[in-house]
Structure formats: C-alpha cells, structure tokens
Amino acid sequence: MNIADLHTIREAERNRCKPFTIRCCTSSGCRASGALEVFAELQKQVQESGLTDRVDVVGVGCPGLCSEGPLVESTHPAAIYPRVKSEQAREIVRISLNEPCQLEQLDPGHPFLTGQLKIVRARAGIIDPERLESYIAADGYVGLQQALQQSPETIVETITVSGLRGRGGAGYPTGLKWATVAKMPRGQKYVICNGDEGDPGAFMDRAVMEDAAHQVLEGMAIAAYAVGANQGVIYVRAEYPLAIERLQLAITQATRAGLLGTGILGSGFNFTIEIRIGAGAFVCGEETALIASVEGLRGMPRPRPPYPAERGLWDCPTLINNVETLATIPAILRNGAEWFAAIGTEKSKGTKIFSIAGKIQNSGLVEVPMGTTLRQVVEVLGGGVPGGKALKAVQTGGPSGGCIPAELLDTPIDYESLSAIGSIMGSGGMIVMDESDQMPEIARFFMEFCADESCGKCVPCRVGTVQLHRLLTRIIERKASQDDLDQLIQLCHLVRDTSLCGLGQSAPNPVLSTLRYFASEYEALLQPPEFPGHTRRKAPIPLTVI
C-alpha cells in the first residue's frame, strides 16, 4: 500500500455512509450486560424492515458510560439509549422511519458526556474496531504516514517537545525514553507495548486495545521508526480475551494492507508485531519482569540498571511503553507537539483516561485534561456517591497508590500533585469509597493482593508483605496494641526502602496513606498494652510518612 491507496480507502469509506447509523457498543463491559444479543437483534430488525440501504448498524467500541450499558446510539436524531434490551431493538430501528420513540434517552447535556476532552479515546464509540477501513476513515494511519516523511530524530524531538509522560504509572518522560533507545548503536532493537494492566479497578488499557487496536499498532510503528526497531511485541494479560482477539485481527488486517511488514507505505521501513499473552501475574507489569515473561520465563524482575533501553528483550535495546502512551502518539504526530503541550498543566501534558468505579453513580471511562480536579471527575462527571451516602475517599493508583480523603478532592490530577498527597497517578484506576468502607480493611485487601502477587525474588517483599498482612489482620481483629501499630509503620518503611522492584517498593503505600489520613480508624481498633508497665519507645504516627 502507498499513500495514494490510503487516501482512496479513506474516501471510499467516507462515501459509504448511509443516511442513518445505529451504533451499538460491543466492548467487554456492555457484552456482559447483553450487548451482543442487542446488536444481533438490531441487525435482524434492519433486515426485516427492509432498511438495509438506509440504515447502517455498526458494532462500536466503548462510549464510556459502562454502568448504563448496553448503550445504543442513533445519529439522526442524535440520541443515546441506555440499558437497551433486545426487545427494544425494533423501536430503535423504526426511528429511521420517523416513528416516535418512547425509549429512555441519556440527556445530551449529561456532564459525563460533555465534560470530557477525548484525544486517545476520540474514536471509541464511533468507529468499528474490527474494520481497518473504519479506522482509516477517521484519519487512521495519517500519523504514521507523516512520521515516515520525517527523520527519526525529528519524531523523537516532537515527542520530547510535546511533554508526553508515560501513562503506565511512573510518568517517565516518553521523549527521553525514546531518545535513549534511539541513541543505542544500530542493530536489533525491540518495541514492547505493555498491555498487562494488572491494577485491580483499572480498565482503560483494555478499552483502548478493544476499541482502537489499530491506534495502538500505529503508535508502535511510529515508535519503532523513531528508535530504529523492526520488531514489536504486545504483551496482553490473558484476562482480556476480546482485546487479544481484536489486536490479532488488527495485526492481520494491517499486515495484509501493507501497513505493517516490509516497505511500509512505500518507505524503506520494516516492522512486524506479535502478541504475547500473559498468564495472570501482576508483577509482569514491571518492565523487566514483563521482558522475562516475553522470553517464556517466570515473570521476575531484575535490578536496574541496565535499563531495558540498553539491555532489554534478548539483551537488545528495548523500548517499553504503556498502551495509552502509544495510543497517544498518532494524535501528537497529526496535530503537532505544540497542540498537545498546550493541554494540561506545566509538568503534566495532555489528557489522561481514568476508569471510575466503586461507590459511584456513573461508572466507566473518562478522559480529561491533566490538571482537572478530582472533585470534577468524581462528583461532576461521576455523579457522586449513590444512595445519599457521603464520599469518604478515592483510591488512585491501585495497590501501588493511596487513598485520598474527601477533603483533598480539590487536588488537581497531575503526577506531582498526587504524589505530594501520598498517592500516585498510577495507570488511572479510581475507586470511590463511601462512609461505610473501613480503611484498615481496604489496606489489608491491598496488602493481601501484594503478598499474593509478590514474585518471591527479594526478601523484603516476599516476607515483608506477608508480615504486614498479619499485622493488619491483628489490628482488624482487635488483637493489636500500639506496639503492633508502631511495628507496622516501621515495617512499611523497611519494605518500601529495600524491595527490588516497584511492587514491593509501593506495596506499603495503601497502608501508609490510610494511616496518614484515617489514623483514628486504626487507633480505635487498638487494645491496651498487654503489660502496662512495659513501655516501648513511643513512635507517634508520622503524618508525612510518604
């Protein structure tokens, strides 16, 4: 395929549009609520009503408001129907014949729909994720086409200027990472897309892979061209079968169309991508563990340096980026670095996708500019806590993050502000908790997770997390004294300071952050000391523990 072919496909697809389009979400969230039956029924109804030349029924990616699924959208008149059942398919199809419709519609002014700025998810809910043409028509592969007309150095410079930072959690500047790999001597290099979204409660990467698999491939191809790699690997967790299926389909389509393979778009650039499937190990989200897993080994991290940028997969220089990071790349190439850098805050540029779940009215995916306050996301877009209960805390960053109390909801969301209040951005999972949730229980839940997921390589993490879990259990069972609490804090610091990889280093975060803001809940569970005469060194709970 050359650039002219790409243009022809785009035009043909745009002209193919029928006057009336019905879009039905077919991603995992809505599928679980019966979206596939609705989709099949919509198609059947269009056939039976003889409307095939007027009405197009398209299976699309996630529009975002997953708690109201299955969602169906019609274009003329523009409306979104929540919680559609297959019996209602006929009524939706008949709208194209100007018949009145009594179905419940989402308010078009709903803050969840209007309060977002979609860059990465701009196509989600609009294009058919299973058709390459549909992606091309929405300016797909334009970024790659433009990239191939520039020198690799210019692209690295563009990404650096854009200020994009890694969306996987740590927020490392993407341009710097690319520059490091690009500077390595010529030879075999790899690009790895980290799709091992292990944080419980985070599902934005699943949605990106399911809704816009081609966008991820395009981002990878641009990255590979910029750093001089010719092979790519997408590592996806096995819990996401639909994402795997759609990525595989996208790779096949792109390879057949000449958008992957040799001589891409008439240039001398060659790039192939293969998928590697995980098998359920949270630690594989850590880059060195992920590389071990791609090599078919136990997913155990190794000390860095050497960083994967120098010695990664098969000891070759390797660029590892998160799914969302790579999916942002095509938009930056299309619109320019300055456009992207104008969005967000001074140090955190662009937008970020958050998955909001837990005790919240509107649960699903939102994409907002960096610097938006937590309150805006949770109370305005998310609609607050249902059932009249009071919001107690928002947990961000999964097991590596912390719980942010309600009084700090006006904190802007960016990498620095969140770490200043003892949490992290993480991959973007936000779990809302109400007054009925007990923070020691939440801390124990995360510690159990970390103890379970610890790979066992280093002692502080393998033994420390288990001991922390025991101490938390003692506290919850009202068997602990102040001494135990002191020991808990001491051990948290030890595990954090001495563990090998991010899992252990961040495992105490949920405990420390809940201790910081909800210390009274722990203290209320303590028992008087067993031997009152015996006084140990009193260590008051430090308020700046993180």
Partner: protein, 189 residues
C-alpha cells in the same frame, strides 16, 4: 472418573525420534481422545517452531486442551521444547491462570478486584463457599463445581461480578449467586 494408564506413541517432532511415554491420565477417558489432544498440542508446538520462549503460549494451549496441567503433560512439553522440566514446572506454578489440579465441570470465578471488593465481593465468595461447601481453589467432591477467585477482569462498572463458565455476570447478589450455584450442583449429567 476412572484412572487409566495409557501407553502412547508420541513423536518428539523436532528430532524425528519416536519416543514412548506413559501417561497416567485421571481426566483422560479414552486412548483415542488423549492421542488426538496430544497431537494437537504437538502441532501447536511445531507451529511455534519449538521455541522455548513460547512456553507460556504452549502451556495455555495445553490447559485449553486438557483442562489442567498435570505432570505427564508438563514433562511432555519440557521434552518436546527441549527445556529442563524444572523450568516448565516453575513457569506453570508461577502464573495464577495455570491450574495443576483438575477443574470441576463448572467454574465459578469470583472477581476480587478493588471495585468488586468495595461492593461486597467477599459476600459472594462466602455464599459459594457455604452453598457448595468448598473453599476457594477447591472443587466439589462430585466434580461439579470449582470455586476460584480472580484479580480484576476489567469490567468494574458492573461490580460485583462473577465469571460463570466464561460468562461474565454482574452485578450479582449473594442470593442470586447461591441460586445459580445450586442449579449447577443439582444438574444431572
């Protein structure tokens, strides 16, 4: 389930040497089906060119075919991929999704991700444990039901949820889940 000792002819395809191997299969009902499944697994390993780094994919395939990974299967994979048996066993035990014990006819997988946890997933686990009288990771003595827990399957908007034989069901209450589990348990084969 009858325990049958099967003597199988298995071609270690990369060397072209025919090796004999004994398979003690507790889940294998007849020589014919076992032979076919081994054949499919071997074909898969040939497709990945017997590469050691494809081990995780091979184990996924083996589990898909046999339902779980027992030692004869792991040994067979090790021999065919020319890997130390310790490495194959090490990988199979490291990852949570690989099962080393036979699974029940039905699997109830309760999600214990954060969103499900705050919405009361522990009650779902307790409900299944009480109804089926088993603990997490166990299978009922009649082989009807296995109870497993998972760490977030990424559809948190419909929390709390369970995966019942690969079908995601949510939000679900403890009573509804108990009823579903009871239906499974009282099914006739």
């Amino acid at each position: 389930m009858s325990t049958s000792v099967l003597s199988l002819k298995v071609r270690t395809a990369n060397s072209g040497v025919t090796a004999f191997m004994e398979l003690k299969g507790s889940s294998m009902s007849s020589a014919a089906t076992t032979d076919r499944r081994i054949g499919i697994l071997d074909a898969f390993m040939r497709k990945v060119q017997f590469r050691g780094d494809a081990l995780i994919a091979v184990l996924h395939k083996a589990q898909e075919l046999f339902g779980f990974l027992d030692r004869p299967i792991l040994k067979h994979v090790a021999r065919t991929l020319k890997l130390p048996a310790s490495r194959v066993y090490g990988v199979a035990t490291f990852y949570h999704l690989f099962r080393l014990k036979p699974q029940g006819e039905h699997t109830c997988e309760v999600c214990l991700g954060t969103a499900c946890f705050v919405k009361g997933a522990q009650e779902l686990v307790d409900a299944v444990e009480q109804t089926a009288e088993i603990h997490v990771g166990e299978t009922t003595p009649d082989g009807k039901l296995s109870l497993v827990v998972s760490r977030c399957i990424g559809t948190c908007s419909i929390a709390p949820l369970v995966v019942m034989d690969e079908q995601i069901v949510g939000p679900i209450s403890a009573e509804m889940l108990s009823t579903r589990v009871q239906e499974w348990m009282s099914e006739h084969r």
